[in-house]
């Protein structure tokens, strides 16, 4: 088998990528069938065969909500390293993702491999738009904490921009700006927090053009910003006013069920599948795979998940495939956009005016 490290993140064309990824994913299906009884039952109950799919579209998939309803694990409990939970809103049940050391390590390495193709190999001074103290204990590691920890491998001199009450820590921010105003730096935070607790405050305090050589990654969903009618374009324009007009800003799409293989937005505003992962768009009614330009449910594939059966997941996000191997940015692989959530994706029982 070809080692993943020898593959270029965005340099492999369709046929070669499909052949490599399909082999990885077929073998993961077999692995989880043998090691996770609930997954084996799921395949048997739906009359799905394992390990012999001839296309990515033919691979079995697990609905994302199942991770909230069941403890899906393919490792013996003695190998449990940590459990990730989705950040989820308060009333929702959270996903539980179990990791062994091998899977956790692979997540970090792959994430660094993908993101460093944007930042370059050198570690940059890093401003984290969050507060210090997200670590908690390993049994309930949040997606936010995991995200910050994962990206911190790309940076040095990690500086937290917020106080624990989410107000800006101006001493830390101004110190960072003073020190690194003329250097390439890295900024990372969750989309809403970057907007609400950082960019807005830079504007309000008239701190403009502060870090002109910055590269910013942000992730974590657009719902709250859409409620405020803030589009990706508005986000970028406003952020560039505060930081510098040439600042690179990359949103990425990822989820706690597949940490590591993130889909990063390129300079043309398209989310890209790296070699290690892929997306399939499925019709909401028939679940048939759709072609470019059509809107449907996003299925995400990743070669990472070994400790839990999450290598092929049908999400409740809606998206549209935009093309493959031909984005004007030059990156190969599928590129797409996310169009929000399936409405009312959480079924609730005899509930709740709470």
């Amino acid at each position: 088998m070809i080692d993943w490290k020898s593959l270029e993140v965005y340099g492999v064309g369709r046929e070669q990528k499909r052949a490599w990824l399909l082999r990885e994913l077929n073998s993961l299906t077999l692995h989880h069938q043998a090691n996770c009884s609930a997954y084996a039952n799921l395949l048997a109950g739906q009359n799905l065969s394992a390990g012999n799919s001839e296309t990515l579209e033919g691979l079995p998939y697990v609905t994302t909500r199942l991770f909230k309803m069941l403890h899906l694990s393919s490792i013996p409990s003695r190998e449990l390293f940590k459990t990730l939970t989705s950040s989820g809103t308060t009333s929702q049940v959270k996903s539980q993702i179990v990791l062994d050391r091998e899977t956790a390590a692979l997540q970090s390495k792959v994430l660094v491999s993908i993101l460093s193709s944007f930042t370059g190999a050198a570690r940059r001074p890093m401003l984290i738009i969050d507060h210090n103290g997200l670590d908690g204990d390993k049994s309930g590691f949040s997606a936010r904490g995991a995200g910050v920890q994962g990206l911190s491998f790309l940076g040095r001199d990690h500086t937290y921009a917020l106080n624990s009450d989410m107000t800006p820590d101006w001493q830390a921010i101004d110190g960072f700006i003073e020190k690194y105003a003329n250097e390439p730096v890295l900024i990372f935070g969750f989309t809403f927090m970057v907007w609400q607790h950082f960019i807005q405050h830079l504007h309000a305090s008239n701190r403009l053009n502060q870090l002109p050589q910055a590269l910013m990654f942000h992730s974590g969903g657009w719902k709250k910003l859409q409620d405020q009618a803030v589009s990706n374009d508005v986000f970028k324009t406003t952020a560039r006013q505060a930081l510098g007009e040439n600042v690179a800003i990359h949103n990425f799409y990822g989820m706690v069920e597949q940490i590591g293989t993130v889909f990063v937005e390129c300079e043309r505003g398209h989310l890209h599948a790296p070699i290690y992962a892929d997306v399939i768009i499925r019709d909401q009614l028939t679940l048939e795979a759709l072609g470019s330009g059509e809107t449907g449910l996003l299925q995400v594939l990743s070669f990472i998940p070994k400790s839990y059966p999450g290598h092929s997941i049908l999400t409740e996000d809606l998206g549209r495939l935009l093309g493959e191997d031909d984005c004007p940015c030059g990156r190969k692989g599928r590129y797409f956009e996310v169009l929000g959530r399936l409405p009312k994706s959480e079924v609730r029982g005899c509930s709740d005016v709470l």
Partner: protein
Amino acid sequence: MSCSIKLWAGNSEFLKLPRTVGGAFSGDRVQFLETLSKKLLSGDYSATLKALGFWLRASHIRQWQLSHTSDKKVLRTPIGRVFIVSPSNVEGLFAYSWALSYLMGNQTVVRVSENLTRDQRDLFKLMAILDEHTGGLREQSFISYDKISDWTQKLSAWCQLRMLWGSDQSIESIRQTMLPAQSQEWVFPDRYSISILHLNSANAHKVPKIAEGFARDVTTFQQRACASPKWVFWYKTDKALQQLFWQSVDCLVEGGFSKNDQLVASQYLCSMGSYEIYRGNIHVLDSPVIQGAYQHLTGVVGQSQVGVIEEIVEMLPNNLQSISIAGVTEQEQALLAMHSNVRQFVQCGEALTFNRLWDGIDLTDILSKAVRL
């Protein structure tokens, strides 16, 4: 930190109301409900609201009244102040429990979710108009408030009866709020419902009608109501009749469910060991035992085959509510009732018809005092 409340109909000054005076079934309250019923039945309202109108018809109310006034040695008087928290999955449910509380002479505060459905808006609008003409709601309030406010606390201190409809989680959460020793509480938590079908040559001709009723029970409220059947026990029934039944149901539930919700439900049941035997407008899964009785699954029905009723008894979950039946004798029902937590037997198609005997309780009894004379 009293955050503001939203008042949808009735009186906003409910905390200041003097003690209510009067008995159950007072003339003006009966009249108010009768008018409401007539307006709902004659106006441009949804089928759900028309069903409420039909339920509140004058002859129906008179039946209840008769059953309560037959004993001359007992006088029915109100409990006093009633606080009802209603669920959002069955959005019209609050109207039924409120109407009974109203009829029994109580002051009632009903909390509904602030995201009103169209039906709720229509109903509140109509009630507000009737109130303007009659003053019938001067001791009633329909409100919404934020869960982080202290209104649950205030209303729990105010009421003499707290009635909670909702998920186990929300009921447990509200129960953290202290209720005074002199007050009572009734809760209606998550429940699970099933169907037992005994089809044979004697009732085979009724299969289309039974299927139609069953389809109505599963599609109303997208199978989210406590009384919606989730599992079918085939009791001594030939496979060909089962197939005929599912085919008939499938035609009647087209577009009734979100495909994604169905897939989630199917995958959940499969992971527990069920086998998907049919995937159409409805998904049917086969397993020797009930699975997923404590999950909120929609668009799927499980099935098991049984040869004797006693086999079913052993599998019934503690949160069982309704059993919709076809071809099950009264003796068999009695056996099931004595060995399980079942609250009602209904014919297919009537599982969601509200009854004042609900969840094993006579609501008019608990919403009033029986005063011995």
